[in-house]
């Protein structure tokens, strides 16, 4: 079954649409994924920041403690410097941590815990430093030994360590999420690519199938076409043969009909001649007394001459018909001679030959359009149009002068149509085909003729590869349309091909 045009369009469009949708999906997904990756990267940075803040703070506190220890041991101011620097930095570091943790949910509690631990620690540190500064080494050492500072430090360590673990876990999660994102993106791009390829393949497949079907259908058509051409050739050749046979038949028959006619006519004349002495004898006074002389007289003087004259007119008529058949069959056998024929000149010639009839009836012949030059058989064309124009003038209407119009109607490149229109008596509808039959005439039989004109015209037109039709209304006029090839040579070549 063939893919219909509509189905093909639907299939192709849907494949393309699916491909586009997939592409859009991939673009959307990529955008979303990029957004997500951006977010997680920010979070990653923030988390890293938190971690480093935590470490910084711890290290500052440791620095402060280290400085305190050194000062407690040595009492030298140069050990005090790291302590003071670290203590000063502690607030700054804490604020930094606070900022880093600002948007963290449970950070308030942690920060306040850490703050108090830090404050306690810093308080303990400054207390011992001040004691040492005041020379109270023992008190300071006792305070250190009380382990309060160590406990505070441990608390700070555990707070920061706990927080660091949380942060590390978050960091791991963010890294894993990012990796997952990348993986999802990669996979979806691959899957989308495959789907697009499939859609493309589907469209390509449909198109290929359709194209293959087209090619197949075309080759089938070619085969059919070729077969058709062959059949037309065969038929035309058959017709040609049949036509030739009919013509040969007509020719032979008409000759064979002529031979007996010669006898009929000959012996009729002989009979008439033989009658003369008889006519003299019946009027001789010697035989007037014979019985049945009156009958003999009537026979010799009226009956026999009358019979002979009927025989004579009948044979004359028959001779005319036989001559007509002979003429037709001879025309059919005449070899057509294609040459350039200027139709303007042709019609001018015909007008010249009917000049006498035109003048007699006050008629006119009008060529309405420019007439082309074609390649045709001049003699046949002259006979065709001569006959048509002759008929138009012959069968003119009684109440108006005849006007015959000639015009060309545009046809295809290869054919030309010439119309011969008259305002004559017209042909009744039932006679439209009959007028083309041999020996058949239509309408009032007031003009001499044998009924061969139009049969002859039709035979000629057909021989030239054309057609003749008529349109007519009784009492108004008739239009004959002669459709003939522009180039008779092509027609003959084609026929030659058929015969070959």
């Amino acid at each position: 079954m063939l893919v219909s045009k509509f189905n093909l369009m639907r299939a192709t469009v849907s494949f393309v649409a699916v491909g586009m949708l997939i592409l859009l999906g991939i673009v959307g997904l990529s955008y979303w994924m990029l957004d997500r990756t951006g977010q997680s990267t920010e979070e990653l940075i923030a988390t890293r920041d938190m971690r480093s803040r935590l470490v910084d703070l711890l290290s500052v506190v440791q620095d402060a403690e280290t400085g305190q220890r050194g000062f407690l041991l040595t009492g030298e101011d140069r050990y005090l410097t790291p302590y003071t620097v670290a203590v000063r930095a502690t607030d700054e570091k804490f604020d930094a941590l606070r900022r880093a943790l600002a948007r963290q949910p449970d950070s308030e509690q942690f920060l306040s815990d850490l703050k108090s631990a830090l404050d306690d620690k810093l308080g303990e540190l400054s207390q011992t430093v001040e004691l040492r500064n005041g020379g109270k080494i023992d008190e300071a050492m006792a305070l250190v030994r009380s382990d309060r500072g160590k406990d505070l430090m441990d608390r700070i360590r555990s707070l920061i360590g706990g927080r660091r673990e949380m942060v590390e876990a978050r960091l791991n999660r963010a890294v894993i999420a990012q990796r997952d994102n990348a993986l999802i993106l990669q996979r979806s791009i691959i899957a989308g690519g495959i789907l697009i390829l499939l859609a493309g393949a589907g469209a390509a497949w449909t198109l290929t199938r359709y194209t293959r079907e087209l090619v197949h259908a075309r080759s089938e058509l070619e085969v059919l076409n070729f077969g058709l051409e062959e059949r037309v050739k065969e038929r035309t050749a058959d017709l040609e043969r049949a036509n030739e046979e009919v013509q040969r038949f007509a020719y032979i028959v008409s000759h064979d009909l002529r031979a007996p006619l010669v006898n009929v006519m000959g012996f009729t004349t002989e009979l008439k001649a033989s009658l003369e002495p008889l006519q003299e004898i019946v009027n001789d006074p010697v035989v007037q007394e014979l019985p049945r002389i009156a009958e003999a007289k009537a026979a010799v003087e009226t009956d026999i001459p009358e019979a002979l004259s009927f025989i004579k007119t009948s044979t004359k008529k028959m001779d005319g018909l036989i001559n007509a058949i002979l003429k037709l069959s001879r025309e059919g056998r005449r070899v057509l001679n294609p040459e350039r024929v200027d139709l303007e000149a042709l019609f001018a010639g015909i007008e010249g030959s009917v000049q006498h009839q035109l003048q007699e009836s006050d008629g006119s012949l009008v060529v309405e359009t420019a007439l082309p030059t074609i390649v045709g058989d001049k003699l046949s064309l002259e006979q065709v149009f001569g006959n048509l124009i002759d008929n138009a003038l012959k069968y003119q209407a009684a109440d108006r002068p005849p006007v015959v119009k000639i015009r060309v109607r545009p046809q295809s490149d290869s054919m030309v149509m010439i119309e011969v229109e008259d305002n004559g008596r017209g042909i009744a509808e039932q006679d439209h085909t009959r007028v083309f039959d041999l020996f058949r005439r239509a309408g009032k039989q007031d003009k001499p003729g044998e009924g061969i004109g139009l049969a002859h015209v039709q035979a000629l037109v057909r021989r030239m590869g054309g057609q003749i039709t008529l349109a007519s209304e009784l009492g108004k006029g008739t239009t004959f349309r002669v459709r003939i090839p522009r180039n008779l040579r092509f027609v003959l070549e084609r026929l030659g091909e058929f015969r070959g």
């Binding site: 000759h255 064979d256 002529r258 031979a259 007996p260 006619l261 010669v262 006898n263 006519m265 000959g266 012996f267 009729t268 004349t269 002989e270 001779d319 036989i322």
Partner: protein, 148 residues
């Protein structure tokens, strides 16, 4: 139409006896009184002209004029014409083709084969009678060679 002492015989090959009769009458009317030998088919005419053996020797010494119709029941007049013109004994005998056919090709062929005159039988009897009578007049002044 005669040579010293030896009368010319007219051989008429015509299948239509009516035509034969009309031709004979009109020739006689023209004053031709020569012997007229009618044949209604080709084979009997050929037998007379060329003999049973077909050699033509039978015609040696005869003076013949052939009136030939082309449409014959048993063979065409063309083949009779061919045989006459190809026989060394009778080839010089004048052959007048008298037939209904006025086909140009047929006429050409007959002259090509050596026909001496070709006449189409007019259908109209007055013309027919006239043509035959003129032919008869023509016979009167014609010289016919003796066959060898």
């Amino acid at each position: 139409m005669s040579l010293e002492g030896k009368p010319v015989a007219i051989v008429m090959i015509e299948d239509d006896e009516g035509h034969a009769r009309l031709i004979e009458r009109n020739i006689r009317r023209a004053g031709v009184n020569n012997e007229l030998i009618p044949f209604t088919n080709g084979s009997s005419a050929l037998e007379y002209l060329l003999g049973a053996d077909g050699s033509g020797e039978v015609s040696a010494g005869r003076q013949l004029l052939v009136l030939l119709d082309l449409n014959l029941p048993d063979m065409t007049g063309i083949s009779i014409l061919e045989k006459i013109k190809n026989n060394r004994h009778v080839k010089r005998s004048p052959v007048i083709v008298l037939t209904t056919t006025d086909d140009a090709r047929e006429i050409q062929r007959c002259y090509d084969l050596g026909a001496n005159v070709y006449i189409t039988k007019p259908v109209d009897y007055d013309n027919f009678a006239n043509a035959i009578r003129q032919l008869g007049l023509f016979f009167a002044v014609m010289q016919v060679p003796e066959t060898q």
